[in-house]
């Protein structure tokens, strides 16, 4: 588990100690509670109990004010008691302290003794309870209250052979179940406490202020004379256990049992009663049979579940047991109470419960808040929650079904009627849990089927602008999803649906490296390293690792107001532009050619010029072709996200690890300005509908991609006055969805587009916004806004000609039109060879050359002709040598061969060059220069020097180094 909060509780999963005490007293007949402290405690607890139990809750308070806090609260306590006794005439009062009374050090037992002495004959029993809010949770408070009741009464130890049944803080309906059962089979028993009527009374126009039902004080006094106690709690703290108190002080045998939920725990309970000599009614056996039958009905589905149960320790434990009996594993058992018994005991049980191998070890957590529960739900892939209504926020946020049980239920009516005890109630609960799983599965199975089985056949390239599966005869299968799916007008519910099914569908949680081709060499390209090989995701990688974009996607399913696609333009360097479109076969050829030329090629990407996922047939076919010959080069895709929810799973399966989604807006207002229309399932949406659709699918798509573990970069085209104000919001939203990197790209106004008249955002704006966006996501600052057919290093792209392979350059001062051969013959153009390791600078000794970059330049224009991988380490140079590299390490004839290979260049530039290669080059009439400068500048400078310009010296102005003739 990740970094845990230690001092901050975020969304608590527990209530305060006095809450539990008050509940304990509510199970007594003619009892009232008085909280000694600030009146807010009473009010808050009344409010929370009333909302859950749907009953009036009366808790008196001593209403301490500042005066009482300073001078002591006894005066108020006495007043409060007197008024309470006069108005309500209770037989017993639980007088509890609170944070306030405890902190100011009130002597509660002393005050009560004094009060009793001064008011003899009141006929009311006062039970002092020390209940600081910081003394534990409501769970401990409850047991503390029960024990205080026993300790505060004069118990009668005369044996009468009866049975005590002590019940934990459970629902009134559960207590009523026990009560009916015991009334039927155990003639002499005390059920302690009994909230069944006081907290779930019948409709009654005559309201009795004093709770009349519940365990009578006289019955409690007799508990010390019983022959045995069944305490239905495994996790009541031993110090506070009323059963243990009776055993220790009065020798009443204690039988500790878990609450009777499900078969195992129910059986234990009834067996215990049987052993004590009570006859189990036939009805119970029938109910058990029905539970068994319920299990037979639902066992086929239960194993789909990965339950997360939260609440009081006994509740969580017993529910996990019920679930496990039918093969529904509980992955997370969490309680807000601090209990190592729970943590260790339940952890062990959860493992023992599992009948199938679990994906991940189950976790039992104590002292949990909902921040931890959420974190663990994610980690353990929980798909079903069982607990109180306080889990609703988590359920909503994560799209998880929540079965409501335990206390408090604040968002539904009838919390007091929910039940878990006994075989019959267990059947209903089990059905509810399993039905949630069936619903979730039923609602998503069409999508899963589609993703798994109806993707386009390899090689089937479909006409653009249509959803691909339309031609496979299964389209009607999706049409009956209704307008919810095909014409997403009610946006919210649709996103909800998409989000629900994508991350949870088993197919999408499959590890992508199970793809038929697998990931390269298993661990060779270990996931950890993936980040570093992609030049867009990693600045370091951008220096010397190359990528190629294969322009296979023609049409687009979205019309963006800033975009104009050009499929036949060799000149412009911007996204959406390619010299020509390639068929999958041609794309493969280009890939292979590039691979030959670019030994540092690590990534093959699909970035237009249209929308890659708009021609999924071509895309998947190309990927398939590439994977047949190469399983090492990483795959990457750039998309507008519209169709992403539908293909994310497939992309993951194909081994794609990097994804770029262009998200230009999160608000409808901005989106409307950017997107004119969207083609979706054969229908064109416009205006707000289109905007909504695009935004929703981008969100669902990114979510889906992240659920698959893809690295996701988000591109945002920053358009002046259109979305510049919402860039940080986009970053924030994407960060919430789990995106990894954010790339704010300045809008490049293209004439002829609706936004072509706008000015590009200035550098300052971009920088400031990147700073703001940086609060949410790491920023990519080295984006070159590449063409759809870019190849090579970022910013130093090569251009391809399919006949000749490498054909032209796409960098400043490019030479368009002229072929290589022609140029070579052009006077004034020189071929310069530069030695570089990183591809950025002339940074190597000639003798240690690993790569040689060949440029053509006339001192102004520049074109990269190619990169020669020399590939051998070691020194060849007789000047300063790299430490540890000895000249005898070099292969024989290395220098000679290298010089020979470079014999057709006009000049060689290196950081340093030894005497022997210099001599050899001299023989070919090749000049050698030394410098430490960028490749481009050095190449231009060398060309100028060859042109006879001796004054080339730009070092002083722009920080570069002079070029020296070696």
């Amino acid at each position: 588990m990740g970094q845990r909060l230690i001092s901050l509780t975020e969304n608590p999963c527990k209530m305060c100690f006095p809450m539990g005490v008050v509940m304990a007293f509510y199970g007594l007949a003619k009892a009232m509670n008085l909280l000694h402290g600030s009146q807010g405690c009473g009010t808050y607890i009344r409010r929370h109990m009333a909302t859950h139990f749907n009953e009036p809750i009366d808790i008196a308070t001593s209403s301490l004010s500042e005066e009482g806090a300073v001078f002591g609260g006894e005066k108020n306590l006495v007043k409060g008691l007197k008024n309470l006794i006069k108005l309500y005439k209770p037989e017993i009062i639980g007088v509890s302290t609170t944070c306030l009374a405890e902190t100011i050090g009130e002597d509660l037992p002393g005050s009560l003794r004094k009060f009793e002495a001064e008011n003899l004959g009141l006929g009311v029993k006062l039970i002092p309870v020390n209940a600081p809010g910081y003394g534990g949770t409501h769970f401990e408070g409850y047991w503390h209250g029960l024990k205080a009741i026993l300790a505060g009464l004069d118990l009668d130890p005369r044996p009468h052979g009866g049975l005590n049944v002590i019940v934990g803080p459970v629902s009134p309906a559960d207590v009523r179940y026990l009560k009916d059962l015991l009334n039927q089979i155990v003639p002499n028993h005390t059920l302690f406490p009994d909230i069944s009527d006081n907290l779930d009374g019948a409709f009654n126009p005559v309201y009795d202020r004093l709770p009349q039902k519940g365990t009578a004080v006289s019955a409690i006094e007799k508990m010390a004379g019983a022959s045995a106690t069944i305490e239905l709690s495994l996790f009541a703290p031993p110090d506070e256990s009323p059963g243990l108190y009776l055993e220790k002080n009065f020798g009443v045998k204690l039988i500790k049992l878990a609450p009777p939920v499900g078969l195992t725990l129910g059986d234990a309970f009834f067996s215990a009663l049987r052993e004590l000599g009570f006859a189990i009614p036939a009805r119970v056996l029938e109910e058990r049979g029905r539970l068994m039958d319920a299990m037979a009905d639902s066992h086929k589905y239960a194993a789909l579940g990965r339950a997360g149960v939260f609440g009081d320790p006994d509740f969580v434990h017993s529910i996990s047991s019920l679930a496990a009996e039918n093969g529904l594993p509980t992955l997370l058992a969490a309680t807000g109470s601090k209990s190592s018994a729970f943590r260790l005991g339940v952890q062990r049980d959860l493992k023992n419960f599992a009948i199938l191998p679990l994906d991940g070890d189950p976790v039992a957590a104590d002292s949990a808040d909902f921040a931890l529960i959420e974190e663990l739900c994610d980690k353990l892939k929980v798909n079903l929650l069982i607990g109180s209504s306080e889990g609703r926020r988590l359920a909503q946020k994560k799209g998880l079904p929540l079965v409501r049980r335990s206390f408090p239920i604040h968002d539904h009516v009838g919390g007091q009627r929910l039940t878990t005890f006994g075989y019959a109630a267990s059947s209903l609960l089990l059905d509810q849990m399993v039905n949630k799983l069936i619903s979730a599965d039923e609602e998503s199975f069409r999508e899963r089927l589609k993703l798994e089985h109806f993707r386009p056949a390899d090689g089937a390239s479909l006409p653009a602008g249509r959803a691909d599966f339309g031609d496979h005869g299964n389209r009607s299968d999706f049409e009956d999803q209704g307008p919810n799916f095909l014409a997403p007008k009610t946006g919210v519910s649709q996103v909800g649906d998409l989000q629900k099914w994508i991350p949870t569908s088993p197919s999408s949680t499959k590890e992508p490296n199970l793809a038929p081709w697998g990931l390269p060499d298993g661990a060779a390209l270990a996931k950890a390293n993936l980040e570093t090989i992609h030049p867009c995701f990693n600045l370091e990688a951008a220096r010397d690792l190359a990528r190629i974009h294969l322009p296979i996607a023609s049409g687009c399913n979205v019309s963006c107001a800033y975009c104009r696609r050009d499929n036949d333009c060799p000149n412009e360097s911007r996204p959406g532009v390619t010299s020509k479109l390639l068929s999958p076969q041609k794309a493969l050829e280009r890939f292979l050619a590039a691979k030959k030329l670019l030994p540092n090629l690590k990534v093959v990407g699909f970035a237009g010029p249209g929308e890659s996922l708009n021609s999924p047939g071509a895309l998947f076919e190309t990927i398939g072709l590439i994977r047949k010959v190469d399983d090492k080069t990483a795959l990457c895709l750039s998309t507008n996200g519209l169709a992403l929810p539908f293909y994310a799973s497939e992309l993951g399966r194909l081994g794609l690890r990097h994804l770029t989604v262009t998200v230009n807006a999160v608000s409808l207002e901005a989106a409307k300005k950017i997107y004119a229309w969207a083609d979706y399932f054969g229908k064109r949406f416009t205006g707000e509908e289109a905007a909504k659709l695009i935004l929703e699918n981008q969100i669902a798509g990114v979510k889906a991609a992240k659920a698959l573990g893809l690295k996701v970069k988000v591109n945002t085209v920053l358009i002046r006055g259109v979305n510049d104000h919402e860039a940080p919001l986009i970053a924030k939203k994407m960060s919430e969805l789990g995106a990894d990197l954010f790339n704010l790209m300045p809008h490049l106004p293209v004439s002829g587009t609706p936004l072509g008249h706008l000015k590009a955002p200035d550098h300052e704006t971009i920088r400031n916004l990147r700073y703001l966006c940086g609060a949410h996501l790491p920023q990519m600052t080295h984006c070159q806004q590449c063409r759809a057919d870019a190849a090579g290093l970022l910013g130093r792209d090569l251009a391809f000609d399919d006949q000749n392979g490498l054909a032209g350059a796409d960098s400043p001062g490019e030479l368009s039109g002229a072929g290589q051969d022609e140029l070579e013959k052009t006077p004034g153009f020189f071929k310069i060879a530069l030695v570089s390791k990183g591809g950025v600078m002339v940074d190597s000794h000639f003798g240690q050359a690993q790569r040689v970059y060949e440029y053509l330049s006339n001192g102004e224009s520049l074109r990269l002709l190619g990169i020669r991988e020399v590939g051998l380490k070691g020194g060849g140079c007789d000047c300063a040598m790299k430490k540890g590299a000895k000249s005898q390490d070099r292969p024989k004839g290395f220098i000679e061969k290298l010089v020979f290979d470079l014999r057709d260049v006009d000049a060689v530039v290196a950081l340093r060059i030894g005497e022997s290669p210099k001599e050899l080059f001299k023989k070919y009439g090749i000049k050698c220069f030394t410098t430490m400068d960028s490749l481009e500048r050095a190449a231009r400078a060398a060309a100028k020097r060859l042109l006879g310009d001796q004054t080339v010296s730009y070092g002083a102005q722009d920080g570069a180094n002079d070029l020296a003739l070696a």
């Binding site: 001092s7 009010t43 009344r46 008196a60 009482g68 806090a69 306030l100 100011i104």
Partner: protein, 543 residues
């Protein structure tokens, strides 16, 4: 009806009788009537009041969406004030919305013994790392003030350490006599630290703030809709769906509209002193009140165009609901209501009930002051007691940015014409012979129900079940029983619909089992002597 009061009080012990008798009065407008209010609750008689923390964190600060509100104390207080008031909020411009969260330091025994400062610091640090909030508000609970944790020093530390705005509120539960003290403390903190810290102009011609609107069930949204439709710019809402970022420049507004007088009048008064911002008591609950309120606002700005627009909007909105209004009015008129809610709603809802022909026979505030009952003119006469003295009364000097929107003559004129900077209190609007009860307790609730036999009882959750188990319709006016909004034109109709739904639910006619209703022989147990309200309702329906 005077005997009602006598009979109810008869049950009390002498001391209680003495203190309670001044909190109950039968309205007689021919006389100057004084009611006792904002005094300590009597221990042991089941007051409905909450504490200072509830007023500060629960009411005023809780609805702020751009602020991490951290409760410093044991877990209960934070938990119990988590999402229980149904303050709705949309995420704000930078996407943050803390309204769904509960943050607490969950103090344990060692923190009480050795001091909780360090845990508070660490909690802030963790909260900052996790959420990166721009603003943090710390609210203290009972033990904090007693053990002497210096939350204000911690707040100062947090500001310098993290560059956030961090304000601490010493709102320990035992301060004051009710939530009301907490309102005041929260108001002071906002005035001292937030209001006036952002001087950007608000781009609107007629600028107002909405004060004391907590957006329960979306009330504030409906109110804002109307104001914006007419053409007002709403600079800030205190504090429903509110943001401290907006409140920081609330002094740029020309007029403060005060909806809940009790909880926010301090801010209105302090802003008048510091910035010269005029304030006007408004009521967006009830159709006649809304019309009056809107006309008063347009009168304040004195602009003919906005006056015309006001009339046009009134006409349009009323036309849109007139059918529904008549439908529900027909079903509701003639019923009797009792209202017992916090500080101002008991007054506001009488106006809406009047629109439906429902008379209010009993009204009371849980934590109102005398001015909420009798009007602001009694403020100089209210004696300070030990409890009110403990709450800091800020002395506000004129700010350099003070500007008077109205000429002194015009201001005087408007005081009379639209009641500028005044509130006349609830009693003035009630009928002779009806009852006003301050800090109604459980026993009195039952007794009054018995004597006055209201058909509908508006209250909070704590009284709700006593009422509805008695066969009387109960509507919660704190949280609207998951319904709302009730404000504005649209809300009025939802209100009418909710009441009709409740009063005419078929189940009320099935209360008695048939075999119990018609005794087979005269000797058998049968009909109870007194018909219940539900049965009376049934009769009315048949008639």
């Amino acid at each position: 009806m005077a005997e009602v009061k006598t009979e109810i009080l008869a049950k009390y012990k002498a001391k209680v009788f003495k203190s309670r008798k001044d909190h109950i009065l039968e309205v007689d407008k021919s006389k100057e009537q004084i009611i006792a209010a904002n005094t300590r609750a009597i221990p042991g008689i089941m007051t409905n009041r909450g504490c200072c923390y509830a007023g500060c964190k629960g009411v005023v600060l809780g609805p702020l969406k751009d602020t991490l509100v951290l409760t410093h104390g044991p877990i209960g207080c934070g938990f119990y004030s988590w999402g229980t008031r149904r303050n709705k909020a949309r995420a704000d411009a930078d996407g943050s919305n803390y309204v769904q969260y509960c943050f607490s330091t969950d103090m344990q025994e060692p923190d009480i013994v050795f001091g909780g400062d360090n845990k508070l610091k660490k909690a802030i640090e963790e909260g900052f790392k996790l959420f990166n909030p721009k603003r943090i508000m710390i609210c203290s609970t009972c033990p904090v003030g007693l053990i002497g944790d210096d939350i204000h020093a911690v707040a100062a530390w947090a500001e310098s350490e993290f560059g956030v705005t961090c304000v601490a509120f010493s709102c320990e539960g035992y301060k004051g006599v009710s939530q009301s003290a907490g309102h005041h403390i929260a108001n002071n903190g906002l005035m001292k630290r937030i209001i006036g810290t952002d001087d950007r102009e608000y781009p609107a011609k007629f600028k107002v703030n909405l004060l004391g609107e907590y957006n329960i069930g979306g009330d504030g949204w409906e109110t804002e809709r109307i104001l914006k439709k007419i053409g007002y710019g709403v600079v800030a809402v205190f504090t429903g769906d509110g943001a401290l970022a907006d409140i920081a420049r609330s002094h740029k507004a020309d007029l403060n509209l005060v909806q809940c007088h009790r909880s926010i009048n301090y801010v209105a008064e302090m802003m008048k002193s510091a910035f010269g911002t005029n304030w006007l008591k408004v009521n967006f609950i009830g159709l006649k009140s809304i019309a009056q309120t809107l006309r008063n606002i347009s009168e304040f700005f004195g602009d003919n165009q906005i006056k015309e627009r006001t009339e046009a909007v009134l006409e349009e909105e009323m036309a849109a609901i007139s059918g529904d209004l008549a439908h529900y009015r027909e079903r509701l008129q003639g019923h009797k209501a009792a209202i017992f809610v916090g500080g101002s709603r008991s007054h506001h809802y009488q106006d809406l009930l009047r629109d439906y022909g429902v008379t209010t026979v009993l009204a009371g505030y849980e934590f109102g002051h005398r001015d909420d009952y009798e009007g602001r003119r009694v403020i100089p006469d209210i004696k300070e007691d030990a409890d009110s003295k403990n709450i800091e009364n800020l002395v506000i000097d004129k700010d350099l940015r003070y500007r008077a929107f109205l000429s002194p003559e015009r201001a005087d004129e408007l005081k009379n014409a639209i009641g500028l900077e005044n509130y006349e209190g609830m009693i003035r609007d009630m009928e002779d012979g009806t009852f006003v009860v301050d800090d109604l307790n459980h026993y009195e609730t039952e007794a009054f129900v018995k004597f006055l036999k209201p058909d509908i009882f508006f209250s909070g959750i704590k009284d709700k079940y006593v009422i509805q188990k008695g066969g009387i319709l109960s509507r919660q006016l704190h949280s609207y029983d998951y319904s709302g909004p009730y404000s504005g034109f649209k809300g009025s109709i939802i209100f009418g619909q909710d009441l009709t739904m409740g009063l005419y639910a078929p189940a009320w006619k099935l209360v008695k089992a048939p075999w119990k209703q018609k005794p087979i022989s005269p000797n058998q147990e049968g009909e109870s002597k007194e018909p219940t309200n539900s049965e009376r309702l049934g009769e009315k329906d048949h008639a």
